[in-house]
Symmetry: D2
Subunit: 148 residues, 4 copies
Amino acid sequence: MPLKYSSNLLVVQTEIRIRFSEVDSMGVVWHGNYLKYFEDGREAFGRKHGLGYLDFFNNNILTPLVSIECNYKLPLIYGDAAIIYTKYIDCEAAKLLFEYKILKKDTNETIVTAKSTQVFLNSNRELMLTFPDFFIEWKRKMGIIRVC
Amino acid sequence: MPLKYSSNLLVVQTEIRIRFSEVDSMGVVWHGNYLKYFEDGREAFGRKHGLGYLDFFNNNILTPLVSIECNYKLPLIYGDAAIIYTKYIDCEAAKLLFEYKILKKDTNETIVTAKSTQVFLNSNRELMLTFPDFFIEWKRKMGIIRVC
Amino acid sequence: MPLKYSSNLLVVQTEIRIRFSEVDSMGVVWHGNYLKYFEDGREAFGRKHGLGYLDFFNNNILTPLVSIECNYKLPLIYGDAAIIYTKYIDCEAAKLLFEYKILKKDTNETIVTAKSTQVFLNSNRELMLTFPDFFIEWKRKMGIIRVC
Amino acid sequence: MPLKYSSNLLVVQTEIRIRFSEVDSMGVVWHGNYLKYFEDGREAFGRKHGLGYLDFFNNNILTPLVSIECNYKLPLIYGDAAIIYTKYIDCEAAKLLFEYKILKKDTNETIVTAKSTQVFLNSNRELMLTFPDFFIEWKRKMGIIRVC
C-alpha cells in the first residue's frame, strides 16, 4: 500500500538580534554566520514540532547536512533585529529539507534565502535509504503522510 | 574592439589543520566552519595572485558574497589535515566566481565541494555592472583577457 | 571641586539558549563562546541603560577590552537555557568594568563568573586618561556621580 | 619517596595569519578569537610533546579549562602574521597550566598575554585530585620530575 505525501508546509518564525561579534570589518554580518541563524531556525522548528537534534539523537539517528545553498540579497548590521522563517519541505526521498528566509524586522526586506538538505544516519553512522520509523511517525502526527 | 576571455583556470592549494573549536558535538567539523576554510582559500588565492580583500579595498571596491553552495560528502574530525583547492572561474558578467574542493590530506578523499559568487561594489556601495578597471588590469596581467 | 562616586551597582539579566554550534566535541559549550555571552550581557546592559557600542561610537569613542578573566565552574550543554547577569562596577580610573555571572536557568547553579575591563579611545584611537564627557553625563544621569 | 619538580619551562612557537572572519567591525581581531589562538598554541604544544587532547582522550582523561585570564596590549588586523608562544608551567597541584604570549611577527610587539588552568577529569568526569599516571609518566619523560 503506497504512501502519499500532501503538499503540506510548516513554517516557524524566530527572532534574532545581530551580535557585535557576528559583524565583520565591512560593518555587516559575516556571510558564514547566516548558517548559525539557519540552525537557530531549524532548532526552533524542532523545539516547536518535536523534531530537534535531541529527538533524533534519542532515536539513535544523526541528521548531518549534505548540502546548503544561500543567496544573499542585503546586509544586516550590528544591532539589527531580524526574523528567520524556517519552512519544512516534505520530500519522498529519505531526506530532510528546509527552506529559510531572513527578513529585516523593521523594514520587512528580504536579507537572505537558503535551502538545506540533511540525510539520516543510523547508530552505525550508515546512510539510511528509507525514513526512520520515528520520522514516519512524526509525519503521521503532523498530518503530512496520508495513507491511501 | 571586443574583449575575449580564455578558458584559463587558476587553482591555489592551502593546507589547514582542524582546530578543536571547529568540531561539533558529533565529533566532526561543524558544517558552517567550511565557509571559513573557503575564505582561507580565497585569501590564499588573493595573496598569491594579487587579488586579496586588501587589493580590492585599496581600489575602493568591496566584493561581498551574493551566493554560496556547498555539498558535503564526508566529515573531517579534530586534528585532520586537509587541502583546500580554490579555483578561479572566469566569467563574462561583472562577478567573481570561485570553486572549492577540500580533500582529506592523508587519504585524498573529497570532503566538500562548493562554489561562491561575489559582486563588485564601488565606493558608494553601489553594484557595479561592469568590471572595475583594476580587475580588468588584473585579468590582463594573468593572461585571462586576450584582446583580439 | 572633586567628584565622588557612589558604590552604586547596576545589574542586567539576559537569557540565552545554547546553540548546537556553540557546543564542542566533549558535548559542552566551548569555553571561548562564553566571551560572546558576556558581550551579549554588555550589549543588553547598553541597550537598557544607553551605554551600547553605538552610543559610544556616536560619540567617537571606542571601548576595546584590555583584560578579561573567566572562572569556569560547571558546563552547559546544547539546549540549556541560562541567565547572564551583567553588573556595572563603578571605578575612579578612566575604565569601564563589568562583572558577569552565568547561571543555569532550571537549577540556578553558577556556571561561570568573569570580569572585564575596557578603556576609552578617542577619535584618533588614543587612550583617554580621563572619562569622556558623554560618559560623565551618563554617570550623572544614572545617579552614580554625586558632586560634593 | 617524594617527588620533586624542577622549574623546567617548555615553550612552543606557532605562527598564525589573521583571517578576515576573525576581525570585527572596528577592523581588529575580535577579543574572543584570541582563545582560539591560545588553543592553537596548546595543540601545537601537544602535538610536539605528546600532550594533545587525543593523548589525554586515549587515556580516558578530559582536561577542561577552569580559568583563563587575558591581557590585551595592542590589536592585530586582517592579514597580520603573529607568533603564539605557549609555555608549559609546571605545578605541584593536579592542574595543567599554560602561559601565552602573542607577538606581531614583523614588529615583535606584544599583542596579548594570557594564562590558562585546566584540571583532569577521569572517565566518570570526576575531578582527579592527583596527577593521572599517564601525565606523571609524561613529566618523567620530559625531565620535569626528578625522583630524589
